[in-house]
Structure formats: C-alpha cells, structure tokens
C-alpha cells in the first residue's frame, strides 16, 4: 500500500534532461473547456442524450453496454476522448492472458479499510461483498481487486482534493484483495460521502467506491465505480449518466442485503462484477488464420 499522496512517479529528473522531451508551457490547473454551466443546463444535456438514445434503441439501434467515451456533459472528457473509431482487433497472445496476482502481492489485512490506523474511522461501517464472474456466470478466482474511496465526509486523502470537508486521521480509503476460489471478494469499510466537483456549478458526485478489477485476459480489465441504492444525485451526475442505458447503469449499483448485515456492527451490501466474455471464448489463432 502506497502511503504517498502524490500521484507522480519518479520520472521528472531524467525526463527533464532527456533530449527527446519537448518543452510545453505550464499545464493549466483546470480544464480549458470547463464551464460555469448550471445544473439545469447539464441535466438538460443529459436528458437530451438519453432521449435520443432511447428513441434510437426503439428504432432498432444497438443497446450500449458501456459508457460513451464522447459524453459532453462530462466537460473534462471533451479534449480527452478519441474522436476516431476504435480499431477492431482480434486479441493476440499476450492479450489473451493477464498478470498473475496472489498472496505474494496482497496481504489479507488490506481488505479491511477500517483497521489501517490506530483508531476507528468515523462513519457508517459497512461491508461490500460479491463475486467476480465471467460472461457465462462462472466464478473467476485469484484476481486482483483494488478499491479507493472518499471518507464519510466526502473527502479523499489526495492533495488535489481541496473539498473543505474534514480528513479522518483513521481512514485512508484504499484497499486490495484477491478473489477466492469461488470468485468472492469482501471489503470492510466506511460508507463514503458524496462530494462536490467542478464540472459545473453546484456539481456533486453520488457516493461511490472506485473499483479496479483484472480478469483472466487483459481485455477484461475494468475500472469502474460502485454506487449505493436510491442516490438522489444519480440523475444529476454526468459521470454516472455517461452510461446512457438504464439497465447498464443499474449494474453499478450495489444491493442492500440484510443477510450481510451483522448485528450491532456493520451494514451489508452485495455487488457482483461481470467481466466481458469468458475464458473459453478465445483460442489462439493458427498462423495465417485471420
């Protein structure tokens, strides 16, 4: 577990002296196209895109299972998404495999975000658990799952987070685990709070936990966000709404499960993660077999 608040690796020294590097001006602290749009404007854009999408599906266009990478209501995406279509590629050897992670990489204590400091973190103690499945519904054991989240007040332990909410000295908000032989993962943590961001005026993110997931093929890699049921901010949030299909969006919402709640201790949430495809769907093509 890194204890650094700095996302920057140690590359500046040699990089700055490297003849290959071109010099650019100082980077801007905010996005050039970030606007002072109101929530009403952003919501209107969200609704317009979704209405157009629904009409398209009704007229026979395909269902979109993934977020749109071109989603203007999420303002910082404007200059950061590819404008040309993705190139269709048959996965080749290395892409049919994925890095091996195991208990050499991750200690069991890393799945409990509430015991990383001397005292108990403040907030609603909760457990989130579920299974990692392939597209056939079969459990995927032995895979790395990483999580990170804000504390109960909606503040991240990150120097770029300037939200004036308190840091919790007993909560860092990062965890890791390896799925067990039946594909299960389980984290104990504190329910994260919603927090403001600067996409538009009075923009707030619904409470969420970031998940990073590996599968048996690198093409199954997922980085996503898990949300909580019935969040009133869903309709207002351009990141959640970048998935334009309601059924697809719903797959990011955990289910409250009272059978996972333990008396006088913690609330329980269930969230399964489904990787695209299945392990047996691809075999290495013979040479010339394209």
């Amino acid at each position: 577990m890194t204890d650094s608040n700095n996302p920057t690796p140690q590359t500046q020294g040699s990089a700055a002296q490297d003849a290959e590097e071109t010099q650019e001006g100082p980077i801007r602290a905010t996005d050039p196209l970030a606007t002072t749009a109101s929530q009403e404007q952003i919501t209107a854009e969200i609704v317009e895109i979704e209405t157009e999408y629904r009409n398209g599906v009704a007229a026979g266009k395909p269902v979109e299972e993934r977020p749109r990478i071109d989603y203007p209501p999420y303002r910082s995406s404007l200059l950061r998404h590819p404008t040309k279509s993705l190139a269709l590629a048959d996965p080749e050897t290395i892409e049919l495999h994925s890095p091996a992670f195991g208990h050499r990489d991750v200690s069991w204590v890393e799945s409990d975000l509430t015991i990383q400091h001397n005292g108990d973190p403040i907030g609603e103690r909760m457990v989130v658990t579920g299974r990692l499945l392939d597209g056939d519904g079969r459990p995927v054991p032995g895979q790395l799952i990483e999580v990170w989240q804000a504390n109960s007040a909606g503040r991240y332990v990150h120097k770029r987070d300037q939200h004036p909410a308190p840091l919790d000295p007993n909560f860092t908000g990062t965890g890791r685990t390896i799925t067990d032989e039946n594909g299960w993962y389980r984290f104990q943590t504190i329910k994260p709070g919603p927090y403001p961001w600067r996409n538009h005026t009075n923009a707030w993110r619904p409470a969420h936990i970031h998940f990073s997931v590996f599968g048996t093929a690198i093409t199954q890699r997922i980085v996503t966000q898990m949300y909580f049921p019935s969040d009133p901010l869903f309709a207002l949030d351009p990141i959640y709404q970048s998935i334009v299909d309601q059924d697809a969006r719903d797959r990011l919402i955990a289910t409250y499960d009272h059978s996972l709640t333990s008396p006088e201790w913690a609330l329980g949430y269930r969230w399964d993660i489904v990787l695209n495809g299945s392990k047996r769907t691809w075999t290495e093509p013979e040479e010339g077999d394209h």
Binding site: N5, E20, I27, P82, H103, Y240, V274, S278
Partner: protein
C-alpha cells in the same frame, strides 16, 4: 455464448494517485538488467497539452516471447519478471517504464506491449499496443497493422539516441493514437 452483461466501466477520476500507483510499478526489471530498456512518452489531449492525470499500464511477454505467469508485480523482488507495469504520468504528462523488449509469442508474430490508458475525463479505459520500431518494415505482413493504413505509425515506438523506446499517446488530433476494440467471439 455469454449470458451475463458485463459490468460497465467508469472514469478512473482524479483521485487514484494514492491508491493505484505502487512502489516499483514502473520498473519491470532493474535498470542494471543487461537488456533493460526504457519505454517512455507523454500523454496529450486534443489541444496538444499534456494530460497530467493519466495512468498507463503495460502487460507484455518477456524477451523470449514467454507469457509471464509469476505473481509479485505489486511487491517486486527484483528478480522475477511479471510482465506487468503501472505508472502515473507526471505533471508534464510523462510516463516511463524500465523493462525489456517483448519477444514474439508465436512464430512470425510481431511482438508488442499491450497498453491500457486511464485518465480523469476519460469515461472508460482505452487499449492500445506499442510495437517495436522494427515493425515498421513488417506492416504489410501483419493483418492488424496493415488494416490501419497510415495510422499504423501511431502504434510503433520510435528509438531515441540511447536506444530507448519513445511512445507518445495522443487522445485526439492528426496524430490520434489508434485505440482498440477487441473482437468478442460468442
């Protein structure tokens, strides 16, 4: 035939920096390794400005083209080649890995690094490939690269004066990097 719909992705957001990067993430081998090479470059947005909050992952075969199966990427022991690297870019959008050049994983196949790009403002991860500079002579023989026409050049690393590999990633613009959609069989 797959039966369950996949969980959709979401942006990595701005705050992964204290969670995903790990010590030694950019060093697949020690720089004293006899075959050590640096793979580095910058990530640019549609205005040509560096993106300071992107995260790059690489996954690769070893020099002999063997697919690594060893654990230990997150806690490197300095001896085991795991094939996986992760590097956050710096404030100039620069990422840098120390690794070895991958070998061909099967006879006649062009070796490449599999690369995943994440960034704040990027609603989902993007895949690309970094081919070695020598691939430039074999584009016509490679079904995938030849399907890309002129844009194939965006996937081929350049060799700098020290013999290291340079690969810039352009999210948009004339030099927009080719990003991949892997074909699913069902």
């Amino acid at each position: 035939m797959t039966t369950l719909a996949a969980t959709p992705g979401q942006t990595v957001g701005p705050f992964y920096g204290y969670a995903l990067p790990f010590e030694g993430g950019e060093s697949l081998v020690d720089r004293s390794h006899p075959a050590a090479v640096r793979l580095y470059g910058r990530v640019f947005d549609g205005n040509g400005a560096p993106i300071p909050d992107a995260l790059v992952e690489i996954w690769q075969a070893d020099e002999q083209g063997r697919v690594p199966a060893a654990e230990g990427s997150l806690r490197r022991d300095g001896y085991t080649f795991t094939g996986f690297g992760r590097a956050a870019v710096d404030d100039n959008g620069m990422f840098s890995f120390t690794t070895v050049e991958p070998g061909s994983t099967r006879e006649g196949a062009l070796p490449f690094f599999s690369v995943i790009v994440f960034a704040r403002g990027l609603p989902d991860r993007l895949y690309t490939r970094v081919y070695l500079p020598e691939a430039v002579d074999s584009i016509a023989d490679d079904a995938f690269l030849s399907s890309l026409g002129e844009r194939a050049a965006t996937l081929i690393a350049r060799r700098d004066a020290r013999g290291d590999l340079v690969f810039d990633i352009h999210m948009q613009g004339d030099d927009e990097t080719v990003f991949l959609e892997h074909r699913q069989k069902d």
